[in-house]
């Protein structure tokens, strides 16, 4: 075989390989669209609206293939190739159930909620911050995520929770919050010291039956749904849908909620105003502080 003949064979052979590849990729790497019969929004028309941005699902689909398919899968059900190795498991978009929302439990999140989730990522999970994508690209992804479930065609997002102005951070507020922590039995999951080691912790599962761990305040890490006191307030007032963390909006008044926020901050190893007040109080009244947990008289949990 002459050199030129060999080269021609290689070039034409590579063209054949590309043909194979193009077809193969179409068959294997394609992001599936939901069955229109299910009534999910159309990829061609679905939009998201974040501030002045309008996201387009069709553009988001291309980005989904590049960035998301490995975990969330070609069908959006959280069963991507890497999902088997990931803990906690990737979100199943076909259920349209989301942990981080500004809306009441059981309702759909707003576009801003999804946008913020993509931007922020979820600390201590495999979901990174996608801030390196442009705002437009993130808005496009939000629009595409909404095409996986018919809920987005049938329901409107819930009304975002109104967060009242934060009350003063005082030792009285912290002590009241501590009582609320005891009364609501937060310690059963999060533990008396907030270490995530309460008596129920080892039994918790998410709505897919996967084991799930309560947040460990002593880790000092960011919260899954934000970092500010407002974010913390929102987390327990809206609950984390799909997880055992319920909404306390019906049993906690706004002032009580702020008290609880102030107490929860004392469980974190951070240099906060709440922590400083609590340390001072504990040094002076340590012996009088009743431990959190089951009633020592009855042992009832």
């Amino acid at each position: 075989m002459t050199l030129k003949n060999f080269a021609v064979t290689f070039v034409l052979g590579s063209m054949a390989l590309v043909t194979v590849g193009a077809t193969s990729m179409r068959a294997q790497s394609h992001v599936n669209s939901p069955d229109p019969a299910l009534g999910a929004p159309s990829v061609d028309t679905e939009e998201s609206h974040i501030g002045n941005l309008t996201g387009h699902a069709a553009a988001g689909k291309i980005l989904y293939r590049r960035f998301c398919i490995g975990c969330h899968g070609p069908d959006g059900n959280g069963e991507g190739m890497n999902a088997q190795w990931i803990d906690p498991k990737p979100r199943d978009f076909t259920e349209a159930t989301f942990k981080c929302r500004s809306t009441p439990t059981g309702t759909l999140p707003t576009d801003d909620d999804l946008y913020n989730a993509i931007t922020r990522g979820f600390v201590t999970t495999n979901m990174p911050s996608w801030r390196p994508l442009t705002p437009q690209e993130r808005a496009n992804l939000v629009a595409f995520v909404k095409t996986w479930s018919p809920r987005w065609a049938k329901e409107k997002p819930g009304t975002p929770l109104t967060i009242p102005p934060e009350t003063a951070i005082t030792i009285d507020s912290i002590l009241r919050g501590r009582q609320t922590f005891q009364r609501l039995e937060c310690w059963k999951c999060h533990g008396p010291q907030g270490h995530g080691d309460g008596p129920s912790a080892s039994t918790l599962t998410d709505d897919k039956g996967n084991p799930i761990r309560p947040y460990d305040f002593s880790s000092g890490s960011r919260f899954m749904c934000g970092v500010t006191n407002q974010d913390l307030y929102r987390i327990f007032m809206t609950g984390l849908d799909g997880s055992p963390m319920p909404s306390f909006a019906d049993v906690v008044k706004p002032d009580e909620a702020w008290d609880l926020v102030h107490f929860l901050r004392t469980l974190q190893p951070l240099k906060t105003q709440e922590a400083a007040l609590w340390q001072t109080y504990k040094a002076a009244h340590g012996a009088d502080i009743k431990p959190i947990g089951p009633d020592p008289a009855t042992g009832a949990q």
């Binding site: 068959a27 294997q28 490995g70």
Partner: protein, 494 residues
């Protein structure tokens, strides 16, 4: 068909037909077969340094436009010290069986052809009639690339590392890169300190680009020095020293300041990172780069970088002749040079354009090649050049990319040793490259790319600065030497 094999004349006549028919039938079979068989090929996953994908479970297309080139997400990941900043970056969170190591090598077939080479006119150069003539030299063979043995990641939260032993095709190893990096010092992404041997903060990385052929496999500008100058600097070469680097949360603003040994990345106090180099000097170079990117909406980010490298190289050696022959000990007589320029990484949805410009200037002593303890020869001038390229990449999808590049280097001022004896365009370089990479397998634990590339370089009066460094100058300094490369291979990464 048997006649074709039996008849040598017919074989030549039909040499273009048979491969054409074979490939046409192959493609037809694929279409008729509805690709049922080939669809069984695993394809949908993507990868980068697969060790990172194994650690984080992300598809490789998350960090790479087309590996090994980084996209913006990958750059932020790198700038954060190979961390996602999710409080799970430290190795203590990984399964004990996890080990951050990756392999990359490219079995290939390549063809190199260079014009205007000085060759003997008779077989083996024997006989009384042998003279040196100008001819094409063409070589072609199956071959191996060098091999990279990547290990990189985090030792602990905010302490990252890279160790990259790399070999040539004959398994001669060296440390292409090896450094420790302290990330987010005092909790600030603006303070990161790196110590060791590393790639300079080039916006357009030659270590991560898409070209593999002998002529296309380097940016000519990254390694160019005016012919005759004794300077050996190449901005594409990994250097050894320390770097202070910082960036904002999405790396849209970045800076890098590096202090580097004036030894071209050499180790063991030599001028070269490979064994056997001459002793290095004792001075230091400096590199600075500032990068800013702008949000262009649905197009993506548009990134721009300005950079400057200021260095020095020795003009003579301290020697010892105790053994009878002068033996160089330390390079002395440092004289300066600099490289300044700008680069861009411009995104237009699936199209990416990479413009680059460099101005190079060497001290007259480097251009004259004389010790700076002597007077400069009359008429000696500092050699200069301007070089640059524009590279384009079109991503059909995360698994198929087409790319091309045009590069041009213009010698502004010839080195003294050449002045007057060569034409003004002596050393000028023009280079073109086109190709594509198809990633049929992009698992999160390994990947394969089918790489096709054609590159051609023209250099005036000198041997082209191809990646393998082979070839000879032409007979005449006015001759333009054309060197072309065809590269076909499987680039795989595990």
């Amino acid at each position: 068909m048997s006649k074709w094999f039996a008849n040598g004349v017919d074989r030549t006549r039909n040499s273009w037909v048979r491969p054409l028919v074979t490939c046409a039938l192959l493609m037809l079979a694929i279409v008729i077969g509805d690709c049922r068989t080939v669809s069984a090929l695993p394809t949908s996953k993507v990868m980068a340094i697969p060790a990172f994908a194994r650690k984080y479970g992300l598809p490789c297309s998350a960090c790479h436009t087309a590996w090994p080139e980084l996209n913006n997400f990958g750059m932020v990941f790198r700038d954060n010290g190979y961390q996602l900043m999710n409080d799970r970056d430290s190795l203590i969170w990984q399964n004990p069986s996890y080990f951050p190591i990756s392999f990359r090598i490219t079995p290939n077939w390549h063809r190199e052809s260079t014009s205007d080479q000085q060759v003997d006119s008779t077989p083996n150069g024997t006989g009384p009639n042998n003279v040196t003539v100008s001819r094409n030299v063409t070589q072609a063979a199956f071959d191996l690339s060098g091999m990279d043995l990547w290990s990189a990641g985090t030792i602990y939260k905010n302490i990252s590392f890279v160790l990259l032993p790399s070999s040539d095709p004959t398994a001669v190893w060296h440390f292409e890169s090896a450094f420790l990096r302290f990330d987010n010092i005092k909790g600030s992404s603006w303070l990161n300190f790196k110590f060791g041997r590393f790639e300079l903060d080039n916006l357009i990385s030659e270590k991560r680009f898409l070209f593999l052929s002998a002529n296309g496999g380097i940016y000519q500008t990254y390694h160019f020095n005016v012919p005759g100058s004794t300077n050996d600097f190449g901005i594409g070469d990994n250097q050894i020293g320390v770097e202070l680097m910082g960036h904002n949360v999405d790396s849209s603003t970045r800076y890098s300041i590096a202090l580097l040994s004036s030894n071209e990345g050499g180790t063991n106090l030599t001028e070269s990172n490979l064994p056997g180099g001459l002793p290095s000097n004792r001075s230091f170079d400096g590199y600075m780069a500032f990068t800013k990117s702008f949000n262009a909406g649905s197009w993506g980010y548009e990134e721009f970088q300005a950079y400057a490298y200021v260095g020095q190289r020795g003009t003579y050696y301290q020697t010892t002749s105790a053994s009878g022959t002068p033996v160089p000990l330390v390079a002395l007589g440092n004289e300066p040079f600099y490289r300044v320029g700008f680069a861009g990484q411009l995104h237009f949805k699936n199209l990416e354009l990479l413009p680059y410009f460099m101005h190079g200037h060497d001290n007259a002593y480097l251009g004259a090649g004389v010790p700076d303890t002597m007077s400069l020869p009359v008429g000696a001038k500092a050699p200069t050049f301007n070089g640059g390229f524009i590279e384009g990449q079109y991503f059909v999808n995360p698994q198929l990319v087409f790319f091309g590049r045009f590069e041009k280097i213009d010698v502004g001022q010839q080195a003294f040793v050449n002045e007057g004896s060569v034409p003004g365009n002596y050393g000028d370089v023009t280079a073109y490259s086109v190709g594509y990479r198809w990633y049929p397998i992009m698992f999160s634990r390994g990947g394969v790319a089918w790489h096709n590339e054609y590159s051609i370089t023209k250099s005036i009066g000198i041997v082209p600065l191809s990646a393998d460094g082979s070839g000879l100058p032409p007979l005449l300094p006015t001759d333009g030497v054309w060197s072309s490369s065809v590269f076909i291979g499987f680039d795989f990464d595990f």
